[in-house]
């Protein structure tokens, strides 16, 4: 097998004529290393953000099999998320219904600094939001908008026991201190613009989020964040760029200073200050959307207040560490002692020491201050620099064996170096323009250390061409030995920014197989075929409570609908079996279908626009008689005297179905 695969791969590189030489690095036993036999399961789940598709895609590792796409900030026609009446509220914001976002960073919940497989937190960069996905159901269960934020990029970073999920703004904006931004001249960036860092409290049992307080920070651009561990576990670190405070042509304006800052925030102290009354309060206006786990109905709450701290009033809470030119990634090693800052325009990677930082604070080795926040001396916190690591360092992850791996965007490679002596020990080309890289658990206290996934922005010649737009690629690299070995690449859905992975045994055994019908608390659920109904509720509104089971819907003949009526189809899936969802679609519906999980109820809104007979049917192949799982709805002209009538099959004609037309 290995020989055959090796030959094939060699053959491939020959036909490519060495245009890129891009197969050279593939190890000869790669096929065996990633082969997961049919019916066998992968060792790890990985969660890749979909970037501009607003979704998370779940891949098995090492096979690279796509297991699921989870819609978070985007409407998803596949299952009706964001279209069905139950889920629409999940996408509500203070800007109205926003059915899209730019999803950058998935982060797994943690217990004692290690992934625990309970929840996945993700951020929406465009319309600042943080969402929580429940890993029992792999569904988005909560979406919270963030006030005073604009471009929620350095987000969402859970502390070691999910005490807080922390989210910082990428863009600073002129806050009007009333929940919006001021009408301010764009010349006034330097004086008027501010950023914010949000501290979201997480319920230790249920995972529910709550915005506890914010810190209003100087008007830089906050890029990425990472939490401390071990000795540094009370701290969270943020890279910033644009310390120049340029408000226009940032590519030049924000690239002038040789050093920007790493912002270090003592989150425990901040929480203490907030609790002790240092926090002020201001009006706000943001949405908090939650999916009820029994009714599967999402509800929005509009929050009207937010508490905030000012760093200048909270001594010891925040420090700035000078970091070489436009830093991007900040990554704390598993021991919690080293903070690696990747200056994307810098020629060396600085590694800071947490112990030195503590000493510098104690000895007041300051280099002035910015907006009342002490700036520490660069040399006083520096452990050393990784010299000539490559071009364009972006992100670093760790294998738990004393090695760090940094992605190099410009030189398209992964560089392995040692944390103790900061010497580069290996390099591996990747195809092409790698952004984030991920080692399962590589940002936790105990990395898995076997694989590394490189997430590349550009694929060019990697796959069969598909017109101007090409898939992005993830590449799986074996890091178990001294030398890195390329194993696999697989196309990804939209642009993966970051990813997290976890051993399957922490997630798979808890997977929900179906919802218990008895626990279905949906207000329009019907749990027996005998209880279905069609009711004219008002002049133009008809409510259909129906059931679906292999392989029929009850009722499947509905009459008495009139042109102009809005019909709510509440479909309850009566199945109590794993992997038997039923779909529901009506001809001419202006939204989508809906996919109803076993035991759940979902609602599709449909407006009768013209007289006639319209079919509805099940869209998810459910059984040998799936094609026959269909029905008709008859629409009569406005004001006609056809009474409401419904049935399924001749025998059941006597279903008491009388609901009078007004």
């Amino acid at each position: 097998m290995a020989v055959a695969a090796g030959t094939m791969l060699q053959g491939c590189s020959k036909t490519e004529g060495g245009a890129s030489g891009s197969s050279e690095a593939v190890s000869s036993d790669a096929a065996q290393a990633v082969y997961v036999a049919p019916g066998k399961h992968d060792e790890l789940y990985s969660f890749l953000s979909g970037g501009f598709n607003g979704q998370v895609s779940v891949y098995g590792l090492p096979s690279g099999r796509l297991l699921k796409i989870i819609p978070v900030f985007s409407q998803f026609p596949e299952n009706g998320y964001g279209y069905s009446e139950e889920s629409k509220a999940m996408l509500m914001t203070s800007h109205g219904f926003v059915p899209w976002d730019d999803l950058h960073h998935p982060k797994l919940s943690r217990t004692d600094g290690q992934t625990d497989g309970r929840w996945l937190f993700v951020n929406g960069n465009n319309t600042p939001r943080v969402a929580r996905i429940d890993l029992k159901t792999f569904e988005t269960v909560e979406v919270m908008e963030l006030p005073n934020s604009a471009g929620n990029h350095c987000s969402p970073y859970p502390t070691n026991n999910n005490e807080y999920v922390i989210a910082g703004t990428r863009f600073s904006v002129p806050l009007d201190m009333k929940g919006g931004t001021g009408d301010v001249s764009l010349d006034k960036y330097e004086e008027e613009f501010r950023g914010s860092i949000s501290f979201i409290k997480v319920d230790p049992e249920k995972g529910d989020m709550d915005l506890d307080f914010q810190i209003l920070v100087p008007g830089f651009d906050y890029d990425l964040a990472n939490g401390g561990k071990g000795p540094s576990e009370d701290w969270v670190f943020f890279t910033t760029y644009n310390s120049e405070k340029a408000g226009t042509l940032k590519e030049v304006g924000a690239s002038q200073n040789d050093r920007d800052y790493l912002a270090a925030v003592n989150w425990k102290l901040a929480a203490k200050y907030a609790k002790e009354g240092k926090a002020r309060e201001m009006p706000a206006n943001y949405y908090h959307n939650k999916m009820d786990e029994n009714s599967h109905v999402a509800k929005s709450t509009v929050k009207k207040k937010v508490r905030y701290l000012l760093p200048e009033e909270c001594p010891g809470m925040m420090y700035l560490l000078p970091a070489p030119k436009s830093p991007h990634g900040i990554d704390v090693d598993p021991s919690g002692e080293y903070m690696v800052v990747s200056g994307k325009l810098a020629s060396a990677i600085p590694v800071f020491s947490f112990a030195k930082m503590q000493d510098a604070i104690k000895n007041k080795q300051f280099d002035g201050e910015k907006n009342g926040i002490p700036v520490l001396k660069y040399e006083s916190v520096l452990k050393g620099e990784v010299k000539e690591p490559g071009l364009g360092p972006l992100h670093t992850e760790f294998d738990g064996k004393g090695n760090a791996y940094t992605s190099m965007f410009v030189s398209s490679e992964i560089v392995k170096w040692k944390l103790n002596d900061l010497q580069v020990v290996d390099r591996m080309p990747v195809y092409y323009s790698v952004g984030h890289l991920m080692i399962p658990g590589g940002d936790t206290k105990e990395p898995h250390g076997k694989y590394l996934v490189a997430m590349n922005k550009i694929t060019k010649d990697r796959y069969l061409p598909t017109g101007p737009e090409l898939a992005h690629s993830a590449q799986l690299i074996d890091i178990s030995g001294e030398k890195m070995k390329m194993l696999l690449d697989f196309p990804t859905v939209a642009e993966p920014h970051y990813a997290q992975a976890i051993v399957a045994s922490k997630v798979a055994p808890n997977s929900t197989k179906f919802y218990k019908l008895d626990e279905n608390k949906h207000p329009h659920a019907v749990k027996k075929e005998a209880e279905v109904s069609v009711t004219r509720e008002s002049k133009n509104r008809v409510r259909v409570k129906m059931t679906a089971i292999r392989s029929h819907m009850t009722p499947d003949n509905i009459e008495g609908i009139q042109v102009g009526d809005t019909v709510y189809f509440h479909v309850t899936n009566l199945e109590q079996d794993w992997d038997v969802p039923h779909g529901f679609a009506v001809m001419g519906a202006n939204n989508a279908e809906t996919l109803i999980m076993p035991g759940a109820t979902q609602t599709l809104k449909w407006v009768a626009k013209k007289a006639g007979v319209f079919p509805f049917y099940c869209t998810d192949f459910c059984s040998a008689l799936h094609q026959e799982m269909q029905g008709y709805i008859r629409v009569s002209p406005k004001g006609s005297n056809v009474p409401i009538k419904f049935s399924t099959g001749k025998k059941k004609q006597n279903i008491p179905g009388v609901a009078s037309t007004k």
Binding site: F514, K516, I549, R550, L574, E575, Q576, D577, P598, S623, A624, L625
Partner: protein, 203 residues
Amino acid sequence: MKAYQKILMIVASLSLGLLFVFPMWKIYLKAPQYPEGLELHIWVNKLGGSSEGVLQNFNILNHYIGMKPIHAESFAELQFMPYIVIAFMVTGVLVGLLGKRKLVLGWTGLLMTAGAAGILDFYLWLVNFGTNLDPMAAIKVPGMTYIPPLLGNKQLLNFEALSLPALGSLVIFMAITIAGLSYFFSLRNQTIDAVHKNRKVVA
């Protein structure tokens, strides 16, 4: 009867209470789409399965071939069988207390008859469900009936059905055995008594 024999008899009758703890029979179905299998558990007083939705899933699958839905309510047996079991327990304890050998034999015989009747009843239900099919069924295979096996396995279309007595049946079997032992030991009492009597005569 000696005390330990009476106790044996009482243990035998009380052990029938385990019928409310364990199912009597299990029917296993396996098909490519059900790698985890479906199990129907038949109890003395209810129907159940390996998981909550099993009965419903049995019925969903059976409806394609026109088999009547299986519901606990459709079996009068499940209503009165618990009383029979309780009756056996009560009478068994009484028999044990009275310590009359012939009553023990009678009780054991009755229990064996009841067990056999139960199996026959079960078989008749299987035949009834397997052959009494809705003529409007979606799937009709000429000449095919769907009587599940009483014991052992059988291929029914895409399903491999396996039927086996479960712990509950073993409980009945155990009760019969223990009661039988009680009787058997008491037989020896008689022989020993007889020997004693004979000795006296001789003496």
